[in-house]
Amino acid sequence: MKACLPVTRRAVLSGVALAGAVLAAGLATTRPASAQADYPNQPITLIVPFAPGGASDFAARLLQPRLSQILGQQIVVENRDGAAGNVGMDLAARAKPDGYTLFLGNVGTVSINPYIFSSLRVKPLQDFIPISIVADTPGLLIANPKFPPNNVKELVEYVKARPGQVNFASPGTGSVNRLEMEAFRREAGLDMIHVPYKGGAGPAAADVMGGHVSLMFVTISSGINHVKGGRLKALGVSTKQRVPQLPDVPTMTEQGFPKSVSSSWQGVLAPAGTPQPIIDKLHAAVVEAMKDPTIRERMGESGVIAVSSPSPADFKAYIQADADKWSGVIKEIGAKAD
């Protein structure tokens, strides 16, 4: 047991420095045109399309200090939340493509929203240049501990015997966790009722804990503590190999559902039109930052895998494949909103 941390002078100073960084967010809005060669010569804004405290914000704030250090310029995290991340994404897509505005996209904003919200003006794959993935969070199939099935095989038998009677929760109609369940449901041929929640995984997971709804997919980071604490049981994990944090939980693949491999990822993108040398420089910096042991450790603690893309093109292909997969599921279930 570590004793309580004393407040060091350094911590106080870094607090002051951070307050300064907050102020600098304003300064960054009036910037002169700059040459590519000395890029970056002023603070870089990283737009996070979700509120502080969420999974995307978490990734951004972890990345920020190391990335600032590598690039030699302050990275300013700017939270612009609203409309399932579309507000921030729209803002980032329309920003000047000079490398001083970056976007922290995730599976929802980039691979799912374009197919859910037909009014969305942004076409992520055309309006952004992918730089690198930074975080990969597998999905976890959880259930109330009193729910009879203990693994995916038993679940399939149980639901098949009770078509249309088992309820599953999700953190939202267009959420990746809902689509993961829909994809699995189709693969296994199950008839279940979808009960959507809003406000993140918390309220939905609470109702699974309370036994009001039987099961749901969550990200490992939001489910792991409840599984370890015995309030929820895990039936499967949506990775190819088992995850080190939950070594006893079999993968969906081992249980006969190889298509149930999915991830809630976060990655850095730049507005389309950003010069290639800047993209390359940013890619190298992100890859370097993701090697940082502190970042890897902190992400690992909460069930997030720290990753990076071998090349920007590689990340683009990854997004493309992800988008194809989810748009297919959305088309099949008709979750589109007009």
Binding site: T173, G174, A206
Partner: protein, 502 residues
């Protein structure tokens, strides 16, 4: 004895000079931003959260707790002084608090609010220390059907807030609910009443409507009044509560603490439901219900105690289960994660220093709130002696800054202006804004829980009667309706009788 040792550990963490300083800084910053109309705890914490990331965990949490209480109290301050409820739970405080201020009792109202918050905060913190894990289980037992019935009960109770016509109050609640449906429907992702405007996707912000209908609407009617717009009593009396005042507000404060403490455990509308159900209760218990709405001290004491107690017990599901019951708690979880801590059952065992430190700092945050704000009461009251012709342009400017800062969206400011005109016209029609705001807050939750409950029961409405918790609230709702409608029938009969004898 174990509790004593735990609390001792907590205070040993919280009571370092540096932590106290951070706590004080948090309360100060929270109050200053929270006083800006429109910026409630969620917006204030969002703005200040990044500042705490660089601090060590105990200091960060203590500072955040301070910001939270400060922002909440800041909202009550503007509600009382200038009829601007900065956040949803101070809507009720505005009703009688502002009337007290107009009678020259602004100081008394502010001091009462601070003291009652402190009493509630102290008791609720003690409850968390003693019974947090057990209470968290209760929160899990609440299913969607139970929430629906509770919210329905809350809406009916909202009618009591109005001091005019019951039919108009119900109508205003429905208008509020209708306004609450604006935005993307959570169940189908369909946009409702957004008129193709992307910014409407998340609905209208509460503060936009509150600023418009309360602040701007009130200012328009003040300006229209003949005595040059000055609507405050010049001589200020009773800056501090006297013994007689304390005797009047202590019981409402305790009842409010109890109700608030219970409702705070539930996600979503905890503090709001708490503040106005306490108001309704006090109005019903009072020997002089006619005073409510005209500056009754009980109408400030009860709701202020209730919303502070609820704000406190809202920490329970987060601390013990890692489940956020409100946007503020979600921010707190984010802050914990940045410190490398996962909130939940393990927190208490893995980092007892933090768990108990947080509880101790909650109480210290409350204490500092009183320490900071009681001396400020005098200054706030002095502000009211600024001539109204100079005060109201300042209020309008603060409103604009506050509303703009919520989302950095100019459209919000323009909407607030429109709601200002709407609020003024509705006031001329003798329709009050408070029921509308409560309908606006509770409406989306009612719809959500209704649809969810029926999805889960596969369309069987009996689910509302089969679940004991839900059934109890429905019975209470029916009783409340009878209490509300009975006098109406009596009056109508009296009228009919009078007419027939004419």
């Amino acid at each position: 004895m174990e509790l004593f040792n735990d609390l001792l550990l907590g205070f040993s963490v919280a009571l370092t000079p540096a932590n106290l300083l951070y706590g004080f800084l948090g309360v100060l910053l929270g109050t200053v931003i929270g006083v800006l109309p429109g910026l409630g705890p969620v917006a204030t914490i969002s703005i200040l959260l990044p500042v705490t990331f660089a601090l060590p965990a105990p200091a960060a949490l203590i500072m955040l707790a301070g910001i939270y209480y400060g922002a909440q109290y800041g909202g009550s301050t503007t509600a009382i002084l200038v009829n601007l409820p900065g956040e949803s739970s101070s809507v009720v405080t505005a009703i009688d608090g502002y009337q007290m201020a107009r009678k020259g009792q602004a100081g008394l109202a502010l001091a009462t609010a601070a003291l009652c918050s402190f009493i509630a905060g102290t008791l609720a913190t003690l409850v968390i220390a003693v019974a947090a894990p057990a209470l968290a289980e209760v929160a899990l037992d609440f299913g969607p059907a139970d929430y629906f019935s509770l919210m329905l009960f809350g809406l009916v109770a909202a009618v009591i807030l109005a001091h005019g016509s019951v039919v108009k109050a119900i109508g205003m609640i429905l208008v509020g609910i209708l306004l609450g449906t604006i935005g993307i429907d959570a169940n189908t992702s369909l946009e409702r009443y957004t008129f193709g405007i992307p910014a409407f996707g998340d609905g209208i912000d509460f503060a936009v409507i509150a600023m418009g209908m309360f602040g701007i609407g009130e200012t328009i009617s003040n300006l229209g009044q003949s005595e040059g717009g000055r609507s405050f009593v010049k001589e200020v009396h009773g800056l501090w509560p006297r013994w007689a005042d304390i005797k009047r507000f202590i019981k409402p404060a305790l009842r409010g603490t109890f109700l608030g403490g219970c409702l705070g455990l539930l996600p979503g509308g905890g503090p709001v439901l708490a503040s106005f159900s306490t108001y309704a209760l006090e109005k019903k218990l009072s020997k002089t219900p006619g005073e409510f709405g005209k500056g009754a001290i009980e109408g400030v004491a009860g709701p202020e105690a209730a919303n502070n107690a609820a704000a406190q017990t809202a920490f329970i599901p987060m601390l013990t289960l890692g489940l956020p019951s409100s946007a503020v708690m979600a921010l707190m979880i984010g802050a914990l994660m940045m410190q490398g801590l996962s909130p939940g059952p393990q927190l208490m065992n893995q980092r007892p220093d933090l768990f108990w430190g947080l509880i101790a700092s909650m109480w210290l945050g409350n204490l500092m709130l009183v320490v900071l704000n009681l001396p400020l009461v005098g200054i706030w009251v002095k502000l009211l002696s600024v001539p109204y012709r100079m005060l109201y342009p300042a209020i309008m400017l603060f409103c604009c800054i506050g509303v703009y800062s919520i989302n950095n969206n100019a459209l919000d400011v323009m909407l607030a202006a429109i709601f200002g005109g709407f609020g003024y016209l509705m006031k001329r029609l003798h329709c009050e804004p408070a029921p509308l705001l409560l309908g606006f807050i509770l409406g989306p939750m009612i719809e959500e829980t209704l649809r969810r409950a029926l999805l889960i029961s596969h369309g069987d409405p009996m689910v509302f009667l089969q679940r004991p918790i839900s059934l109890s609230f429905l019975v209470l709702t029916v009783l409340l309706l009878v209490v509300l409608i009975a006098p109406m029938i009596r009056v109508t009969r009296q009228r009919a009788f009078e007419e027939s004898t004419d």
